[in-house]
């Protein structure tokens, strides 16, 4: 047994050795091509940086593109003598700066005397024109081209986000091994969310150089070169004209404007105020400007539409009404006495039905409505009864997209808060609670928190009579593609369409004859809306800060084209600042401009509290 097997193994060993020697003979003796490359600077590796994808608006207008940018690389070992006077002249440096640059170079972690290292970075196209002709005077220095972001407008900075060189910590987390040091990566906004599509694929080319370092041509006839693949373009859902108009209206104010096309969930405009000029976070001055912007006490990097959590205020009454109708605790004609002993109210009314209660934003009405909802008598114990009612209420409210992040295609979206029984258990530390402890949520105050995006989405949901498509900013990956699958799906609420119809009628009434009539109603079109004046934590006895002015709306009532939410911080009643801005946005989108210059002036003047 096993005869001959030891010979097989011996022969296999020897054969492998012989194969190696034959292959080596071919590489080392027969093929002469490697010999010419036998010194360390024979091959110059040139990274071919990909262009990031461009971003267009919904009408095909270019918003974000790329500008060329250049880095000056150094291979220290190749520098025999450096004419520092000429060098300073060409690169507009002082002698001290040059010394400083060399000092910085040696301090760099990746510094190696034989490998190209960045010496001066982010030279502009303008610098390049000057340098290009004279670079050959300085052997050991190389120009590397790549591109940086450029913008056709100053608008939309927070939604677009910015791009910068990848950080060390992010590089360490790069499981795919895609990035290299100095690569650009989207840091926020669309740039971060769609990074995978925008970034493209870097390429490389190898050049052969002679003894003096002059490039003589491609290495191996370019067979090893790999061209870069540009990133995919994106088509945004945003109408850049509407966006610009929104930024114009919100100038000098804190707050946000969001406009959504209800039928598709496409965001037509998303304004965060105060904002910044996106061009500041590109090119040479990135670091300097970033410090400036992030230290700004107005927080221009804080993307209010998705990150600022406010109490929903009176707008929430629309949602309360629908939930109560759905639960069957009221009917549209239910009248409730405006008893102002428990909870305050405003305006001149006493015993309204549902529509009247919404039009007049009657607080006692909704106090009673919530009590009926939470205490439906499903348990004899008032504590348990409230618990059952609240769980039911929470389920309905969350179905509108409140209480959790909607899942917009931007990072850092906040979810707000819809209190649940578990939430109050925790808040009360296990002590019992019932309706009388938590009634503030009836009018959108108390523990409720929403972000402006959720309110705009709510307006869109009412416009759609029962469903929403998650709001999103990109309608096509590639120029003729589709949005991501998550943004093609309808989310239905737990509320029946007929109850939405009642809400819609009430919102129409708000604008026709209620709180919104002076500044939100438009001549040829039915606008449905709701005002809100939201208490905020900044208010103290000593410093009675005004409420936030809030308005949601959609129009036209039939076949709605646009849903809007507007928050203007510390500007008092919703009927003033917010309602004006919202109606102007609707006009701009539907008609291309306003026919009510006095309203525009009113907004721009910004004296909402007088």
């Amino acid at each position: 047994m096993n005869e001959g097997r030891k010979e097989i193994i011996q022969i296999a060993f020897v054969v492998v050795g012989i194969i190696f020697l034959i292959k080596l003979f071919f590489i080392q003796v027969v093929d002469r091509k490697y010999e010419g490359m036998a010194n360390s600077n024979a091959i110059l590796t040139v990274v071919d940086f990909p262009d990031r994808g461009l971003i267009y608006d919904r009408n095909g207008k270019l918003i974000v593109y790329n500008d060329p940018e250049f880095d000056l690389l150094i291979v220290k070992k190749e520098i025999k003598t450096l004419d520092s006077a000429a060098f300073c002249d060409v690169f507009s440096l002082t002698r001290d700066q040059l010394h400083q640059k060399f000092k910085e170079l040696r301090a760099k972690k990746e510094y190696s005397p034989v490998k190209p290292t960045v010496f001066l970075d982010k030279l502009s196209n303008h610098d390049f024109a000057r340098i290009q002709d004279r670079i050959d005077e300085f052997p050991g220095f190389y120009i590397e081209a790549r591109s940086t972001r450029a913008y056709t407008t100053k608008a939309m900075a927070n939604a677009l986000g910015y791009v910068s060189e990848i950080s060390k910590s992010r590089l360490d987390k790069d499981e795919e091994n895609f990035y290299r040091q100095r690569d650009y990566i989207g840091q926020s906004g669309i740039e971060a969310y769609y990074e995978k599509y925008l970034r493209g694929q870097r390429g490389v080319s190898y050049r052969l150089r002679d003894v003096d370092g002059i490039v003589k041509g491609k290495f191996d006839e370019g067979n090893l070169d790999v061209p870069s693949v540009p990133g995919q373009d994106l088509v945004s859902t945003v109408d850049i004209d509407l966006q610009n108009y929104g930024e114009f209206l919100l100038k000098g104010k804190s707050g946000s404007i969001i406009a959504i096309e209800p039928s598709s969930g496409e965001i037509l405009a998303m304004v965060s105020g105060p904002s910044y000029d996106p061009t500041m976070l590109t090119g040479k001055n990135y670091s300097e400007n970033f410090v400036l912007i992030s230290n700004d006490t107005n927080k221009p990097l804080f993307n209010r539409p998705l990150m600022a959590q406010y109490r929903p205020g009176s707008i929430f009454k629309i949602a309360q009404a629908m939930v109560a109708l759905q639960e069957g605790v009221i009917r549209p004609e239910t009248r409730i006495y405006c008893d102002r002993t428990i909870i305050g109210c405003h305006g001149n009314h006493s015993n309204e039905d549902l529509r009247g209660a919404i039009t007049n934003s009657c607080n006692p009405y909704f106090w009673t409505v919530l009590r009926r909802m939470l205490n439906q008598g499903k348990s004899d114990n008032p504590f348990d009864d409230t618990r059952i009612g609240l769980a039911e209420w929470n389920k309905h409210i969350e179905s509108f997209g409140f209480g959790k992040s909607l899942g917009i295609d931007l990072p850092n979206e906040k979810g707000g808060l819809v209190p649940s029984p578990a939430y109050y258990d925790k808040a009360y530390g296990g002590r019992p609670w019932k309706f009388s402890n938590i009634y503030s949520i009836a009018i959108g105050e108390g523990e409720n928190l929403v972000v402006p995006l959720q309110m705009a989405n709510f307006a869109a949901t009412v416009a759609n009579k029962g469903y929403y498509i998650t709001p999103h900013l990109v309608k096509s990956v590639g120029t003729s593609g589709k949005p991501l699958p998550a943004y093609q799906e309808k989310h239905y609420t737990t509320i029946a369409p007929e109850n939405f119809a009642i809400a819609a009628d009430a919102m129409e009434e708000v604008v026709r004859s209620g709180t919104g009539q002076y500044r939100a109603s438009l001549k040829d079109i039915i606008v449905c809306g709701k005002t809100g004046s939201v208490q905020n934590d900044a208010r103290t006895v000593r410093d009675p800060k005004p409420d936030h002015s809030v308005f949601i709306a959609y129009a036209p009532k039939e076949n709605p084209k646009i849903a809007v939410s507007v928050y203007v911080e510390f500007s008092g009643q919703g009927a003033r600042a917010a309602a004006s801005i919202a109606s102007l946005m609707i006009e701009k989108y539907l008609y291309g401009g306003t026919k009510r210059p006095h309203i525009e002036e009113y907004v721009l003047r910004g004296k909402f509290l007088d």
């Binding site: 193994i9 050795g17 020697l21 010999e35 590796t45 290299r180």
Partner: protein
């Protein structure tokens, strides 16, 4: 008491000589890699890899003395305990180990770290030899086969958990030892066939061509032979099985392998696929070796293999330095040294009087061969980049010690081979 026994007379000095020659050449080449004419540091400088490698070599010599002094019975008697202890250490590595260069393969005590995986090789060799060498062992017994595969599978799995695929693959070479000891060659043939299908799957972009090829071959096979139902059924089943392998290879490559492993496999097929990554390493490595020509550039005169142009220059890609500085002649010399060492070990293994020592010897030869073949094969572009060291040659304490222990336990066993006879 046993009779007086002079180990220095009985040890196989040919093997020792080959070992010392390879270790010494390795040391010189590690120095060449780090040598910079501008600074002209000494080969003994402990700040350089060469200085540290000398420490590893000196400690290896101490380990050798210990191995030769310890009673030869020790290794066979304690095989399971040694194996169990190493498995335990391997098990600990993912939990308390530290990460070096993307692989979590090190157990550290302060700044000092060892890779238990390097010691798993000799420990596994001991148990495999012990099992096959036990009285009444029959290779064609299915239970024995399962036991053997479990014994090599356990360390493989634990090392795979450390993401050290290269070292894990080393254990597959035990199949050759099993073959020598009587296992059916079927397994090896299946392995080679599988490898061919694997490479074809990666080479051919559109898999439908492969399926079409299989169908064509199947039809031809059916037509040329006798048209008996059983034969046709068997051929069809075989074709379906091969198609299944193709599907699973595709699945493994795209869904199971980590991105960096995919890159390595793809770099084998198409070195240009990741020009800045592994494909470029192989290209750089070939440039370095190729530029050496017939006679090489001379010791310390290399330019391509310095300054980390090729990463892992003093460990996995150490052979480049030989190729560049000593040319084809140098390559011939080093490869000849390795082949001589391997054949010598096979020769020693065949002259063993007991099965334990023979199986052990074969395992040593096969493990060294695997490292030799894969390591040099990858530097010259014949194998994918699998990061395993060139035995006795590459920089590194754990591997130097691991291979030294592996080899010298065998030399100890060999020195006592006549004693076994006397006892019988």
């Amino acid at each position: 008491m046993r009779q007086e026994y002079n180990i220095t007379q009985k040890i196989d000095w040919v093997t020792v000589g080959l070992y010392l020659a390879i270790v010494f050449l390795g040391w010189l080449n590690i120095y060449a890699v780090t040598y910079d004419a501008d600074t002209d540091q000494s080969i003994f400088n402990l700040g350089l890899n060469s200085g540290r490698q000398l420490l590893f070599i000196v400690t290896s010599l101490m380990i050798i003395s210990a191995i030769l002094i310890i009673d030869r019975q020790f290794y066979e008697t304690f095989a399971y305990i040694i194996y169990g202890a190493i498995l335990f250490l391997l098990f600990l590595v993912p939990i308390i180990g530290k990460e070096v260069g993307g692989n979590k393969a090190w157990l550290g005590i302060g700044s000092f770290g060892v890779q238990p995986s390097e010691f798993a090789k000799f420990a596994t060799t001991l148990v495999v030899a012990k099992v096959i060498g036990s009285i009444g062992f029959k290779m064609d017994n299915l239970r024995n086969q399962i036991l053997l595969f479990a014994l090599i599978g356990a360390p493989m799995m634990l090392i795979l958990l450390q993401k050290d695929t290269g070292t894990a693959l080393v254990f597959t070479i035990f199949v050759v030892v099993f073959f020598r000891e009587g296992m059916s060659p079927f397994l090896i043939l299946v392995g080679i066939g599988g490898a061919i299908i694997f490479v074809l799957t990666l080479l051919v972009e559109n898999q439908y061509y492969l399926y079409a090829g299989i169908v064509v071959i199947l039809i031809i096979a059916i037509l040329i032979g006798r048209k008996k139902f059983k034969r046709i059924a068997l051929l069809t089943l075989g074709a379906i099985a091969i198609a299944g392998v193709i599907i699973s290879v595709d699945y493994i490559v795209t869904d199971v392998l980590k991105p960096h492993q995919q890159d390595r496999v793809k770099a084998l097929i198409n070195p240009d696929a990741d020009p800045l990554g592994f494909g470029w390493n192989v290209t750089q490595s070939k440039i370095a070796i190729g530029s050496g020509g017939f006679f090489g550039k001379g010791f310390l005169k290399g330019t391509q293999t310095k300054f980390d142009f090729v990463p892992e220059q003093s460990t996995d890609f150490i052979f480049c330095t030989i190729g560049e500085e000593h040319g084809w002649i140098g390559s011939l010399f080093v490869i000849s040294l390795f082949i001589a060492l391997l054949l010598r070990i096979l020769f020693l293994a065949e002259r063993q009087k007991n099965k334990f020592a023979r199986v052990y010897g074969y395992s040593v030869a096969c493990i060294l061969f695997f490292h030799f073949a894969v390591n040099i094969g990858m530097t010259i572009g014949l194998f994918p980049v699998i990061g395993i060291p060139l035995p006795f040659f590459s920089y590194g304490g754990s591997s130097q010690w691991g291979f030294t222990i592996l080899l010298f336990i065998f030399l100890k066993l060999d020195a006592h081979r006549m004693q076994v006879l006397q006892r019988l």
